[in-house]
Symmetry: C2
């Protein structure tokens, strides 16, 4: 193994959770007080995965089908998601995020981006492009991995 690998892995394990805590705190703060974290994560998933089924959503959330079913009940009641029987297999449902759900997500994302930007601002342009290039490398590696 290359002698640069272990230190790099150690850096990742130390720094990534640090940054993630800030991002999560910021997102949660802006998600709207009356939406639970799994509900918020559902919107994120459905914004990337149109017409997902209940079981697909449950799999992403790491929750059981009954729990997810009730969670979706609430999202539908709030008009953040629509639920319709699939035309191909009428046992299945098709979940879809509504424009209102998209707006909610966009607002949270925008607020978080502004917070991150203010933190990055003090860095030089070189340092920021350096970081972006590193993140591009890491994205390639972890894009497939996190599907598992």
């Amino acid at each position: 193994m290359s002698e640069t690998t272990a230190p790099c892995a150690s850096d990742l394990l130390e720094v990534i959770p640090l940054i993630f805590r800030t991002i999560r705190a910021e997102m949660r703060q802006r998600r709207g007080a009356d939406l639970s974290i799994p509900q918020f994560r559902s919107l994120i998933f459905l914004s990337r995965q149109p017409r997902a089924s209940l079981n697909e959503l449950a799999g992403y959330l790491g929750l059981t089908a009954p729990t997810t079913c009730k969670l979706v009940d609430d999202l539908v009641a709030r008009q953040l998601v629509t639920r319709a029987p699939s035309t191909l297999d009428r046992r299945k449902i098709e979940l879809e995020i509504t424009p209102r759900g998209v707006d909610l997500l966009a607002a949270a994302r925008q607020g978080t981006l502004e917070q991150l930007s203010s933190l990055l601002e003090p860095l030089s342009a070189e340092e920021k492009t350096h970081i972006s290039r590193s993140l591009a490398l890491l994205r390639q590696i972890f894009a497939h991995e996190s599907q598992k």
Copy 2:
């Protein structure tokens, strides 16, 4: 604002959660089936913060004192943590991770490091030092931020 800031923030918001999901999945898998996430996080906190009080731990976990108290009951019963009244202020308690708790944490951390290393291995030495340097910059920025 520098024109490199917004793209860099956007990269962070996309890539950090991606990496974090892999790290968390790996840590959880290795934490031992019968230990809850807050309990596991307690061990992490106490490994860095010897003789912490109940309220300090509760603050870190984002839980209330009663909830944390019961959680600690269980950690003590499993002999992963000790709880003793403080000698300076006998209202307070001093929490301490046991050698057994340290071992559990070390094993989880080691397994995760190996997993991360295997993912990073394909990168060149230059790319890995590049990433480490970027992470050092980010660590400075987010070290203080995540205390809040």
